[in-house]
Amino acid sequence: MEQYEPDRLSPAQVAAMRRSFRNGRAALTRRSLLRASAGGALAAGGIGTLGACGIPAAGQSQGGVPAQDHSAKEKTVNFSNWTEYMDVDDSGKHHPTLEQFTKRTGVKVKYTEDINDNNEFFGKIKPQLAAGQDTGRDLIVLTDWLAGRLIRLGWVQKLDPSNLPHAYANLSAQFRSPDWDPGRAYSYVWQGISTVIAYNKKALDGVEVKSISDLLDNPRLKGRVGFLSEMRDSVGMTLLDMGKDPADFTADDYDAAIARLQKAVDKGQIRRFTGNDYTSDLTSGDFAACVAWAGDVVQLKADSPDIDFLIPDSGYMTSTDNLLIPNKARHKTNAERLIDFYYEPKPAAELAAYINYVCPVDGVKAELAKIDEDAANNPLIIPDKAMAAKSHAFRSLSSKEETEFEEKFAKLTGA
């Protein structure tokens, strides 16, 4: 086959053509890329119409925006929860307590496990809530500080107490009136979370750990200590260790706690700040001891005899994951009925027996004992008096404080 090469082309053009024949397509060249990147830089520099953009103020009306409630017509409720936060039967396909709810009320539950991280989930629902739109969810579960933020922003709906008789009667006293939602007007506790110290006996190799101070100072644990990337848990435990009350501290106290942690970071004492992935570090022995969530530790302990936990004399942090109904949710009444259902002792006990977190429902112990005697006597699931006395909550922060404190904590963890 003859190549098509008219004489009129300059030698350079012919060469270019040959090359493109050889490569079977127009080759990407250095020059073309340079030209393109210069163009890109120009475009980036030349954007002059940015002023039109902006993000509207978040706060709408305090008290939330009620939407039209379609509960009576549409017998369904969309429930977004964290992964592994619901009882599952042996086949792994059914959620027995949810099915009981459906059987009793006729309301179908569309259950989605699409929450993995508070911050990420906030980023996901923020645009819709800020614009006053339906998120497609009737019930969401968020940790207390984020629940507080949503209430502050006016993005969740006030609950109707007449739909919540069991919840009102059975909520444990220690969860009744958090400072971010006095009297539980907007939220009810799904589960409580205790923050404790977990350790790996084998990795500790005889080193005695009793307090946060041991974690921060004992040179034999250098580089084998983990803290949580959740600011309130790590700083809260440190504040307690320093004799301060996390429910009532000043900015100076906070700075002092950060400085204390910073010293340990600088010494190389703290290996890493982790999310939920500390569990693998702890089982492998890379962490000899770490700040951990009790619900995880109960499960880890069942799998590995080396793992155990302790509660420091100075106390431990408690937080909660809370059920909330976002603005514009279509099935508010159905969602409220679901909340109330989980405050009846029987379903609450079935759930607690499965997920090992702190059960917020009074009168559940007898029901739980019928299912699992050990769980009923485990203070991590149903706190006894001594345990409850040592529990502390982190005070709620103003928006300004939140940014300031998170910024300082971010610097501590390496940015």
């Binding site: 490569n23 080759a27 953009c53 906030f122 980023g123 922003l153 580089g223 992935d277 998170e406």
Partner: protein, 309 residues
């Protein structure tokens, strides 16, 4: 009257070249470009403009954000987080060089020596993509675990003493040190280096090697004077495909690193999601983009190659 049809006239040397069929197809290239352009506009240009706008806004979540042309955010972000920038470039650069050192011999082998194993080896190079990036990185935590056999062996061989001295590791561990992060980056981006290198090497005409041999070039000289220069397009695109994403990576630093190995990607993530300082996060993203654009431009200018693939 002739029964013969006329023979076609001989092609005149100055015959006009076959014209494209009228003007009907004039708009075709634009129609073909349309989906791509729309895609770029909606998913690249608009978000870029939005982010550029965010970076010069001030405000808070409650009061809303307004464009105030507050360019000081850029300076503040840079002066607060320059160590993370320097670290990102350093780690990504090291990982790119390691990828090149590991990838070149392998690509060479696949292109010239693998014979019937070629396809199998190519599949092995691509195979890791069948598993999630996250899972593969988490697997490195098991491989590099403190009490694990690898770290034990490195310790016995006194390799860790050397890396400790260099400041790449600390104590008797590899995890949660710069070395682990660089290893993770190298591992995760290695296929992006090998594939363009292979494409480039495979295209080299084997007869050039024979010719070099005929002209009494030693194998090393052949490589230096023939093979390597001809593979430069692959080297350049491979290093770009490795370096650019590695600089912005945050997963490796998050899972394999410690507080002193955080990269700029981690800072951006923290500012966006945790601190909720959107302007600073947007400004950091733009500084990173500008820095990469500058470095890549300088690099391509100096690389002395014309083709890039």
């Amino acid at each position: 009257m002739s029964t013969l049809t006329e023979a076609p006239p001989p092609l005149a040397p100055e015959a006009p070249e076959p014209k494209p069929p009228k003007r009907r197809g004039r708009w075709t290239p634009y129609w073909l470009l349309l989906p791509g352009i729309l895609w770029l506009l909606v998913f690249f240009a608009l978000p870029m403009i939005y982010q550029a706008s965010t970076s010069v806004q001030t405000g808070s979540l409650e009061e809303g954000y307004k464009v105030t042309w507050h360019f000081a955010t850029y300076w503040d972000a840079l002066s607060a987080y320059w160590p993370q920038f320097v670290r990102s470039v350093l780690y990504a650069g090291t990982a790119t060089i390691l990828c090149l050192l590991l990838g070149y011999p392998l690509a060479y082998l696949i292109a010239f020596r693998a014979g019937r194993w070629r396809n199998l080896i190519m599949i092995l190079v691509i195979a890791p993509f069948f598993t999630s990036f996250l899972i593969r990185t988490l697997a490195w935590k098991t491989i590099l675990a403190d009490g694990g056999p690898l770290v034990g062996a490195l310790d016995t061989l006194h390799v860790l003493d050397v890396t400790n001295w260099l400041g790449w590791t600390a104590g008797d561990r590899v995890l949660a040190t710069p070395l682990a992060v660089v290893c993770g980056l190298t591992y995760n981006f290695l296929p992006f280096m090998i594939l363009p290198l292979y494409t480039s090497l495979e295209r080299i005409d084997g007869r050039l090697h024979e010719a070099a041999g005929d002209l009494y070039a030693r194998p090393w000289t052949t490589f230096r004077k023939v093979t390597f220069p001809l593979s430069m397009p692959g080297v350049v695109s491979g290093t770009l495909l490795t370096f650019i994403p590695a600089t912005g990576d945050y997963v490796n630093a998050d899972l394999l690193g410690s507080t002193d190995t955080r990269m700029v990607g981690n800072v951006i993530q923290t500012q966006f999601l945790r601190v909720l300082d959107y302007p600073t996060a947007a400004a950091l993203s733009f500084i990173l983009m500008a820095a990469i654009l500058l470095m890549v431009t300088l690099y391509i200018r100096r690389s002395g190659t014309e083709d890039l693939v």
